[in-house]
Symmetry: D2
Subunit: 333 residues, 4 copies
């Protein structure tokens, strides 16, 4: 095992994880779910694309849903760099690293660099988006889960040493990580914006995107998301939670959207900006630390995730054996 | 099936469900759990008994824990009548009904009538207890789940027709009930104090007490109970929830105390005082109505309960087959 | 001073304070305010009357707004009795007491007895209303302050000895009261439904209705009411709070509706059902007990209230001198 | 008026506002207030100094209280730079700018550079502090207001053009600002860590520190701080709130500590990291925008603040005339 080493002088300045592009089968169904249950704001709905953002976001979109038949996939996951100059430096970095990259035109985004990480994760970087109204104080428009802003996303990758090396090299800082009893890296939480994670990287068949996570106001809006899901007939879309994470410490609920994409709403994280903040190490087999209370997640939460469009999946050398709800109930009985 | 018929002119005036007496193995362990995790107030700790109450209660105790080895049992469940006169009328009622009854001396309670319902449930009635300080505004003493007051209890009884007849006869009013596809009564929620239930009566091997339920301030203190349980090492005592009930509509968490007795914390119920409020009928097989969101309870929640001290258990003629978490996961896979 | 003495065997059975009828100048303006800011549900809007109820109420209305020009007044304040039989007994009581009373037809209410208390307060009693849907679990319809149910009302009356005698005689039970340094009664909190008050009676020029009070879910919906008031341009309608009452202990906010009628939203009260619960005595000059934190209310809160339609006002023999915000700031500077 | 212009390439990298040093008369009184009412954690108490931090902070202290008689003052306000190298660059900057500066030894801090801004504000910069335990998940230790972390501070300065020029030059980014009807700058909110402010700079006699602001969990802990203040006898220390800011949008409460120093608890702010996020301009005379609901602050909130130890105060050329509560009540009556 090699714990990633932070690079405090990266070649370019990423500021945060910022957006995702997902395919969905039915834009109406998705719009109803995302606006009414999760509380997203619609910035625009065009021919085949629904552009969504959170209540506090001024960026044009943090979630773009593209109508497409077939198995739902993720086209891209987006990251912000600070300036246009950083975009050019990013381009130079990917060229030097021999990783796929290209500048492309993307509607409602500034100049956009699409690239892949060494595991094949489809990334895109931009410095700007058109600015739209911050709805934060339009309290009468708050619905359901009151999704506020894109905070982070989680990917499943089959090689965490390679992933750790890449993401720290481009400036991500390790906040927490998990190492199992065989000294194998099982999870990396890396960040740019000063809270515990912009990207949560889990060991698993991939690259796949496990979920995107939006902040919500507080525990009340978290419960409200569940209650509205229930009263609108989406009660079984509440896959996991409300519960408290060990790593990251957030109170969370995971929802599955009508196509099965997973969205986490959560609140409460901590600031980690100071140079002396050391990464926290977790033991995934310690249920009491990883799952402070309640039951483990059901198997679907561990096994199901969204593949990237056109990207082949790779299995992990060793199959992870998480403490699923099914296993927990079986072993206890 | 016979749906119980309300009796608006009962022989005596019960005001509310009020207290329970449970045996525990270790008073220190119980005191730590009840005060720190659930937020109970200790009124007194005597030789073998710990007297607890909620933050808003002025009664001497709503939970009495008696140190005793052996399988944990429930000695009595308590109900309040309005006046001493009602006690005498209650006595006359039980005599006439041919049900076991006796006036006894119970420490820290007014004159107490102990009696059994037709299924053998060990009840006791009193009109008064010594009044102690209401701690409601001593906010600096609020701990963990901030248990506020004894609201109701749930029993498992093997004959709901008999139970319904008895409890409505002594004045309980039916607020909600469940009838399965075979037109069998599966649950009765009956009340005296004007919210949905003082007693929840479920069909099952019994008489057993399934849980006592205390109100808490709001969703925040509900989560705080879980979080404190986690940080003090009681994380697995969170047996079910946070989740929303269908019947009753409360947001709840169920805890198992160190002896396995079950305590529910919940908030949010409704007022049901007006004569035109008709009982609500539920279909227990409709998961979408009974469990607005999230997963069913694990098997232990359905099967485990506390027997009454020295009272024989009777099986139900037909074994209930609830939608347990195990069954749900199995059927879905 | 005579502290009222509870009468545990009243002539008829009042169950709760239940509704009010107010005149307003503009039904559209009122509907917008009550539904969007306070979260009321519209049961019906007829020619000149808007019928509103709270989210958990099954009664047809708890607030009826009647369009009428001129100074806004209160036509009636409503109380529920348990059965039709109680209505007849109430009639007999008022006849015997020589107080004005008459059975009248009121739309969307059962048989209704209108009567006056000895100070001229316009009351009406009914046993039933048509039952409508309880919206409690329609979480997607929750708006603004999520008003849940009519809990109590406050009147200003110029003779608290007379008021106390009357209201305890008809069965109200004293839960809390205020006595000033001259041993003069300044406030009476009386109840039927088991929480601290169905009626709060304050010493003052009257009879006038100071406010009706609705429960809300929790502190979050209390703040949400304020926030929505702000974002919809009703920010100055927040007259007082959020703050914590001394007497009653509720967390509250007072709003002024477009006609100046006052509505309190609050949560958190306590149960007071047991015979040994003694009335709590308060000293109104003790700001630290009556106002646990923050500043006193502005003068308008003490001085402004809604007169009853066609009922003459009587001054108090001695003008109350409450600790208003203005006085507090002046004395402190 | 000159609106400050952001400098995206500052000479050194400040990461956040981080700590303050205040004199107090009685360390016991301060410890009781800060721990029980506001929920601070004591890291250490030495001879004359109490070191406090918030529940989520790993830094040794974010508030140092020094016992000293005489008028309470502020010794220093602290800012973090990212690395030791940034400290040297900061030193070079202050030397070049001709502003007072010196490296000094400060207990429990890394190498510390003390310096003054052009208005005389006593600043200090360091890159590290000894790391201590993050108490975030020790939920059973949460008290009162659950202060979580130092977020920002507010100063009163008599020249906002000069202040704006200095703070943007050292890399602070303008998020919001106020301009009055005479086109005079009245307030600047500048930030480094990506939320609306690390420093709020108000026009006024100064330099003085108006308050330090700590995040709290949510509205419930905000109210809990008030309630505990009330039940422990500090009810009048609640100077302002709970209320919602216009600028910054936070829900807040202001407390005065036993020496009169002001501490704000607040939750809910927004992320502002993207290059296209333009500063928001506010009109201070618009009460509806600046104070979405409720009443203005009392005069003390506008006029009282803590001077810096040994630093002379300068009046503003024109006396600000804010909409105080006193003025609002007077003009309305």
């Amino acid at each position: 095992m090699r714990v990633p080493v932070n690079n405090y002088n990266p070649d370019f300045n990423i500021t945060r994880a910022s957006h995702a592009v997902w395919s969905v089968k039915d834009l109406d169904a998705s719009e109803a779910f995302y606006t009414q249950v999760l509380g997203f704001v619609v910035t625009a709905r065009e021919a085949d694309t629904l552009y969504l953002r959170g209540l506090e976001e001024t960026c044009h979109h943090s979630l773009a849903l593209v109508k497409r038949d077939g198995a739902p996939t993720c086209d891209r996951i987006g990251l912000r760099v600070y300036t246009e100059d950083d975009l050019d430096k990013a381009r130079a970095y990917f060229l030097k690293a021999g990783l796929p990259n290209a500048f492309v035109e993307v509607p409602h985004q500034g100049r956009t660099l699409q690239a892949s990480d060494p595991l094949g994760t489809a990334l895109e970087f931009c410095a700007t988006m058109p600015a739209v109204e911050r709805k934060l104080t339009q309290f009468h428009t708050y619905l359901g889960g009151c999704a506020q802003r894109f905070d982070h996303y989680q990917v499943l990758l089959p090689d965490l040493e390679a992933a750790g090396e890449f993401y720290t090299d481009i400036g991500f800082r390790l906040s927490e990580y998990m190492v199992d009893a065989t000294e194998k890296l099982m999870a990396l939480f890396v960040q740019r914006k000063g809270n515990p994670h912009d990207i949560a990287i889990m060991y698993g068949r991939g690259p796949r995107i496990h979920h995107v996570a939006y902040t919500t106001v507080d525990v009340h809006t978290l419960i409200r998301a569940c209650d509205v899901a229930g009263s609108l007939g989406y009660g079984r879309s509440v896959e996991r939670g409300p519960q408290r994470h060990g790593p990251g410490h957030a109170l969370f609920v995971y929802f599955r959207d009508p196509d099965g994409h997973r969205v986490e709403l959560f609140n409460t994280h901590y600031l980690t900006l100071d140079i002396e903040n050391a990464p926290a190490r977790w033991d995934p087999s310690n249920i009491h630390r990883n799952l402070p209370w309640g039951l483990p997640a059901q198997r679907s939460w561990y096994e199901e995730a969204t593949a990237f469009t056109g990207v082949d999946l790779r299995d992990t050398p060793v199959k992870p054996n998480p403490m699923t709800l099914e296993r927990y109930l079986f072993e206890r009985s």
